[in-house]
Symmetry: C2
Subunit: 429 residues, 2 copies
């Protein structure tokens, strides 16, 4: 029964019931946190072998390199080989770094600003704009905001962004970049398909140094048997005559240890040379012992796949639980929609327009911490104030259930508040 | 017998003998490398416990933090405590990072350029100059060159740079920075004394956002019992009314594993807040498992001191050997001088003016790789072409001896070549 079909009296009754539900919720004194896409302890436990690796007397790479000493800017060849296969990037075009791919995105952006990308001059000093499919990843947007890059939102569908909108924007030579999370996008779970990818790498861009920041953070993070393989985006870009257009990023943060994994950077041969030239000024080399540790633990691409299956076994039930509760509690009301991701770390919930901030505030007052409303939009501004990101991986299954049940109460309460406020004022008595 | 006192015939004889020595040297087909300040295998072996740490099931910090997961921008408190004591920096003003302090220097410089330091506007877009005590560290200079920062050399003495020269330069508002390696400076071994440090932090600077990049890379790297303790440079700067003037850098690269250690950044409370604001855009946190690994291994500041004593036992003999060979082979000629460091990683050798490039080329042709002549000067240009950096730690004692013996032949050969060329031309026959 959609809220819009309720009579004023029915709406008033529903509001009263929800207010009581909400008061009961607050009285429970919950302390639940669904804010960040963090792995749960049980997921981290899967990789506890890393805590004693590479092992006694083990410090030599396959080529004899002493991993303990300085050097090796590319990262260990054997860890690059494993992820070259998984990311569908030639190993010569994939570098391994320290624990954070966000850091590589930052540095790449900074070098574009101060030095200019391959074939371009420094971006700093002139207006720079980035295309931002929305909803998207708040940390991408924070990087742009930090460096004064104007963000232009473009709607993201199930298989990629609105390509006509992207095409129009690329006519502006100050549009220098675009954020893409191609696989199981944060937060909607969208999967860019091959046709979309080919369009993006092939489109005419007024800026010859236009770059796609291709953050394949969830490349192997499947939640179902319908596994979306990584696209050969660098090959497509080369075929399209724009070999340098794409920067590829990835990491093991949500594969092994979130804070102590290995990051990766991929690009055209020219981009890899460019990156190394700049990186060589910044560092004498990444932590190769951590690379070796990961090689000894993961062994090969199949080792990663087997590990991801164990992650899936732990987190897919949490996603199913969220979906079941949302369906049960919200399904009857036509007031909210949500995504049904087949991979990644998030569910994107759209509540009644204009109520997301209220929902998050209500939840917070009831001890349920959600990512701030609007976080998935540039400048934190959701123009329809309707989107809420749900990150179900970190809490226990019981906590996820408790939080989502509580959240649905908040969603309905905010919607009925809004519907009541929209009723015509009663005739004067 | 100084070369200048030799008769032309004696000089010709000496040159002939040295040429023969050099030919013998080339014939030996050496392959020795004294280029970089890298720890030897035996030094890295001292810390092999790290290869199995933090240990089975060990991932909790003292405060209960799960080091495997995201977060913790400051770095683990317990590793900060250990190095706060050793670096003489309050723990609240010391952050722990990933494996490279050079990276922290890079990022700090980049944020000054793009965002401006505390109390300053962005440096990029206007001329920026840095004071560079010489000889100095080539990677510092490479950072400046990379970002178009003009470097102004100032002579470095045994206890710090020429302060009058520094004072004069600070009258220029475009002088925004200065590199300092305060303890056992690379490559001379100079130790900045307290009076010099007080002058540097207190001097009037035309640029209110002038910054000293205080790279205390060798704070605990003593070679004798005359240990130079780290100065409380942040306290001195605060007392002098310039609390934000100093950025402190350090790492365990030459304490534990050169490529897999922990880096540190120190500054005023305002600087630490500034750094964290910027770093929070770049990363969700450093590798805390590596911090925990180091805490379990090093235990406390005394653990570091004990480890450094074992390093000293391995490398002090190499330094003594270099000094002995230089004394034996060059002592009689008045053509070269060298430093007698009481800590750090280098010996700085000054050969006859105008011959350093020739010496390095001769050595290279004989299979002895030395750091390029001029490397210790901005833009790689030693105005007197006389300075050569000797890095004796990495090769075996036999290799160090072989390399330095060979080097002395090159030093004398180049000097006699020069002296012969300077003789008046013989009267026409």
């Amino acid at each position: 029964m959609p809220l819009s079909e309720l009579t004023p009296d029915e709406l008033t009754d529903l509001h009263a019931r929800l207010t009581k539900d909400y008061d009961d919720l607050v009285a429970r004194g919950l302390k639940l946190d669904l804010t960040r896409g963090k792995p749960a302890s049980a997921q981290l436990d899967l990789s506890n072998e890393l805590l004693t690796l590479p092992g006694e007397g083990e410090f030599r790479a396959a080529d004899g390199t002493d991993c303990r000493n300085y050097g090796g800017l590319t990262g260990l060849p054997e860890i690059r080989e494993i992820f070259a296969e998984l990311l569908n990037v030639p190993v010569a075009q994939l570098l391994a770094g320290d624990n954070s791919s966000l850091s590589i995105m930052h540095d790449t952006l900074v070098w574009c600003l101060l030095k200019g990308p391959v074939g371009g001059s420094p971006w700093a000093g002139s207006p720079v704009k980035f295309i931002c499919p929305v909803p998207g990843y708040d940390r991408h947007f924070a990087l742009c905001e930090q460096y004064g890059i104007e963000m232009i939102p473009v709607p993201l569908g199930d298989h990629g962004p609105d390509l006509d909108a992207v095409r129009d924007l690329l006519a502006d030579p100050s549009v220098k970049g675009m954020w893409v999370v191609p696989t199981y996008a944060n937060p909607t779970g969208a999967v860019y398909d091959e046709a979309v990818a080919r369009e993006l790498v092939g489109m005419t861009a007024a800026a010859p140094d236009f770059r796609i920041f291709w953050d394949n953070a969830y490349a192997v993070h499947h939640l179902t048997d319908a596994e979306s393989p990584a696209l050969d985006v660098l090959g497509m870009a080369a075929e399209a005559g724009n070999p340098d257009r794409v920067f590829v990023f990835a990491s093991t943060s949500k594969i092994t240890f979130a804070g102590a994994g290995v990051s990766f950077f991929g690009g055209s041969p020219a981009t890899i040379a460019w990156y190394q030239q700049h990186q060589s000024k910044r560092s004498i080399g990444p932590d190769k012992v951590n690379h070796l540790r990961h090689v000894r633990y993961l062994k090969d691409a199949d080792g990663v796949r087997a590990l991801m299956a164990r992650h899936r076994a732990l987190i897919a039930p949490k996603f199913a639980q969220v979906d079941a509760i949302l369906t049960e509690r919200l399904g009857g009301y036509d007031t909210a929609t949500w995504t049904h991701p087949i991979g990644g770390y998030f569910i994107s919930l759209d509540v009644a327009d204009g109520t997301a901030s209220r929902v998050v505030a209500l939840a917070k007052a009831a001890g349920i911490a959600m990512t701030g409303a609007g976080a998935a939009f540039p400048y934190g501004k959701d123009p329809r104030d309707r989107n809420i990101r749900i990150a179900p991986t970190f809490p226990s299954p019981d906590d996820v259930a408790g939080a989502i049940e509580g959240l649905t109460t908040c969603v309905l309460l905010a919607a009925t508040e809004q519907a009541l406020a929209a009723l015509p004022a009663p005739a004067a008595g």
